[in-house]
Symmetry: C2
Subunit: 249 residues, 2 copies
DNA sequence: CCTTTTGAGTGAACACCGTAAGCTTACGGT
DNA sequence: ACCGTAAGCTTACGGTGTTCACTCAAAAGG
């Protein structure tokens, strides 16, 4: 409702400007601590100390450390979305293949250059409480997903690859995919059940690939994972009827 | 060297028996805390309190909290290995397809029934220090990998699926795969570069699938992920020339 | 312009945490 | 019987998240 009155412009009053400034300063220093000392190395007291204030003061901005972390997650999701989108926009609008390549590579390279941030986004859910269904982080996660969904929709539009028929999928899987389509709001005319099946399958492969790299699972042997990423990317895209091209860098 | 003298039998002297007992008691209570309060909810003081002793006493058994966690990781790896192996042994020795199905399903079901433990094993690497190359946890991880490697070797033996030729792979990828083969000690005659390429590809898919389920990434929509796991499992195994069969439970 | 209200930030306090040092006590081998 | 060794405790230090009461400067309202 505030956003409705003031738009997205910077708030006018001096107080609000200052508040905004310290708010982002808090998040920035917290991010530094995150990157340098890992997710558990972020402490309110240390952040406050770095900023020249005391820990209780931060409670004017975040109701808890967890709240700060949640805010960071939301920020990272939008940053990641923007990174991907910008990479995509650097390619000709009609070059769908190029846009997809650029997007997925941007996703990976953000992840490997921001390991701690990526870990916070994709692997820090506490396994005990079963994920809040309302949080703002979840919403920004959805927006992030949307980035890829629209690209995928272009592929569907062009009928690049054969889709499995709904009748060939087990009913339980169909139910799951229907729910998935509703929850992600990916309900374009092209988004058939078969399409969702392919989408989730590809996403899982990409996700696994990047996770493995970020968490350094094969890292004892595979120091620079890029060749493997590219090989896997090629396979995934071939299944989607997308023409692979090696990276330019 | 102790192991050499005493074998793997329980140590004889009273002191050693007691020590062994409290050692496992510490790890068990720590595991309870892990499962109930997540990886960050494990504290030496709380563990000690639950056992009726004080925190410094635990230092007779573990040199730090981190040391305890590392020991837990090693234990979990061997437990997971045993779970998979036992599932495999419940199937006819000659039914390679059945053994593979049972193994991979056992892997998933251990992961989803032991989320916190799985998270500790597969997604808790602090992104700052780049993984010690010597730790015992890494060694038990290798033993875990070996479980799947031998199964995969059977498939190679039987020439179930076509292998990509080494010449068709980018040189950088070949170098990576060579290093991977050496580090995992997966150097049977069948383990060609092409075979390693297929192996890593399949493993990444499986890993991504299970991670996604454990960390509840698509969970806002996909509550019971089993149908998706089965569908994906089917696809992966088909690529490996393994005949899929639905689970019996 | 002066008053009132608001809100940013502080200091002290509480309850935790990991860990080091020094001590007591009991067991085990000689 | 003795004595070394190791288990466990007490104490202590520095760190953490969080609450509460407080100050003080800035904004708001007359």
């Amino acid at each position: 409702m505030y956003a409705h009155e003031a738009g997205t412009a910077t708030p006018r009053t001096r107080r609000e400007r200052l508040r905004e400034a310290t708010l982002t300063e808090i998040k920035e220093t917290a991010r530094h601590h995150l990157a340098e000392h890992g997710p558990n190395g972020v402490s309110l007291r240390a952040v406050a100390r770095d900023m020249g204030m005391t820990a209780p003061g931060l409670y004017r901005y975040f109701s808890s450390l967890d709240d700060l972390m949640t805010a960071l997650r939301a920020d990272f999701f939008t940053e990641l979305s923007q990174t991907v989108t910008r990479a995509e926009e650097g390619v000709d609008r009609d070059d769908v293949d190029g846009r997809i390549l650029a997007s997925l590579r941007a996703f990976r390279s953000w992840a490997v250059t921001h390991r701690a941030e990526f870990a916070l986004l994709f692997a820090s859910s506490a396994p005990e409480h079963p994920v809040p269904h309302d949080s703002a982080a979840l919403e920004s996660g959805r927006r992030f997903a949307a980035t890829f969904l629209t690209l995928f929709d272009r592929l569907l539009e062009e009928r690049r690859f054969p889709l499995p028929a709904e009748e060939d999928l087990p009913p339980a899987l169909v139910r799951q995919l229907v729910a998935f389509g509703e929850q992600t709001r990916f309900t374009t005319p092209n988004a058939s059940i078969g399409a969702l099946r392919v989408l989730t399958s590809c996403w899982v492969r990409l996700y696994g690939l990047v996770c493995m790299e970020v968490f350094q699972h094969l890292a004892f042997s595979m120091e620079a994972m890029e060749p493997m990423f590219e090989a896997e990317l090629r396979d995934i895209l071939t299944d989607l009827g997308v023409q692979y091209r090696p990276p330019t860098h």
